[in-house]
Symmetry: C2
Subunit: 266 residues, 2 copies
């Protein structure tokens, strides 16, 4: 057995949707989360900036001697996966969610909604071409959804959220997709609105798929124990528990600790 923690990274709080899945799938494992809330969003920044921020985060997380890294951020997974090449297994969201979508589609038409940076890299499209070249992938960026979710506007009665999702989903409806990859870990919080905009379409949750993909890669922790959770953010830890509740869909008792990657690490 291996009692070292699993480290989870996101540009902000979206990766907590993966933490929820990890806690359910691997209740014995210790989890260390770092969310770069001081520099969120990544999805509208250049590849160079995303790579630098991701490298700083990887160095921070490696100090906890993790047995694996989960890159629970669509943007970092597409634009800066090499930053997490630290000698331990690292799972991003791209390959697991592409494989899942390829497995569940019946009509061979899959949609991808992700951040502008993620779409720009072409990483999802390249992965789909390699994993399932017969599948037609329709890509679209959901640029305003990360600020929307971080503002807590995820309720089914939110007219702005509904209007934005309606707009972003129109090309997927036109393309006749039967499966949509929510390629940013913020998007599953809007699942009800996506389901309303695209009835009958299967939604693939990138964070959940990343958590699933970890299964074969780690040696499990001691079954006699209960996994712990530790949260680090780069800004505004006070608002954290409120927002974390929204992402994890349960109350949390753990406080987040604030770290300053720039001061310590550059």
């Amino acid at each position: 057995m291996d009692n070292r923690p699993i480290a989870v990274f996101d540009s902000g709080l979206g990766g907590l949707t993966a933490v929820g899945a990890l806690s359910r799938l691997y209740p014995d494992e210790d989890l260390i989360y770092f969310g770069d809330t001081g520099r969120v969003p990544y999805g509208t920044r250049s590849r160079k900036a995303i790579l630098r921020f991701s490298s700083q985060a990887a160095r921070f997380l490696m100090a906890f001697d993790p047995k694996a890294l989960v890159i629970a951020c669509g943007t970092a997974s597409t634009a800066a996966m090499e930053a997490f090449d630290c000698g331990v297994p690292a799972v991003g969201v791209v390959e697991p969610s592409v494989r899942k979508a390829a497995a569940v589609t019946r009509n061979g038409r899959v949609g991808l909604l992700a951040t502008p940076a993620s779409v720009r890299t072409g990483a999802y499209a390249a992965c789909m071409r390699s994993a399932a070249p017969h599948i037609a992938l329709t890509e679209r960026d959901g640029r305003l959804l990360v600020p929307l979710v971080e503002a807590g506007r995820v309720g089914p009665g939110d007219r702005v959220a509904a209007l934005l999702i309606e707009e972003y989903c129109a090309p997927f409806r036109a393309a006749g997709v039967d499966t949509l990859i929510l390629g940013c870990t913020h998007y599953p919080l809007l699942a009800d609105l996506f389901a309303a905009a695209l009835p009958g379409v299967t939604l693939v949750n990138a964070g959940v798929e990343a958590a699933e993909a970890l299964r074969g890669l780690i040696i499990q922790a001691d079954r006699e124990r209960t996994g712990s959770l530790r949260f680090f953010v780069s800004d505004d830890a006070e608002g954290f528990s409120e927002q974390a509740k929204m992402f994890l869909q349960r109350e949390i008792t753990e406080m987040a600790e604030v770290v300053d990657l720039e001061e310590n690490m550059v």
Copy 2:
């Protein structure tokens, strides 16, 4: 005469609305602009983060030996004005726009729309109490407007923009304001939508007022010359000229230079 440049700071590109005003008001002056596009938006971050980012920006701009600083960012003006206390005149957006609003209101009811961080500091309210205590100020944060404007969604036909502005303006209508301070330098790009949501209400443009307020504080440059413009950003200079055109409402020929404040300055 004093041919040293005027330095202009914003968290992103909103401050370019002030650059436009400065160019018109002071065509002989050299302008140096720094937009922290690698870390925009500031308005949803903690005061500590805003103060640190602003201090780095101030140090960067002071290297150009400016004769004055224009803090063309509502959030930095409310939360971190002390970061710009560098021994040269520094003008933020708060006092100039409060004074303007107090001068133009007829019914003594003024609205303020600014970022969450700006509203949280209470800086506009404190300034109004001190400058014009008889005026009733209604404050509201326009949290999603910065991402909206940076995404270029400022056209009168944008339904999401119209719906958001309708929502944000409802309390101003309820309070019967006749004057609204657009307390974030991104917001003037949405002026048409504000005018539609609040007919007859005078809009105060924070960036323009900051530019006006500089008049008495500087010794002018040589009238025989034509002022130059130099742009620095902390990320993604390639998209800069496209976006700058939107903010300045004219084509620009100057390229932006990318600087990394964290690597050089921490």
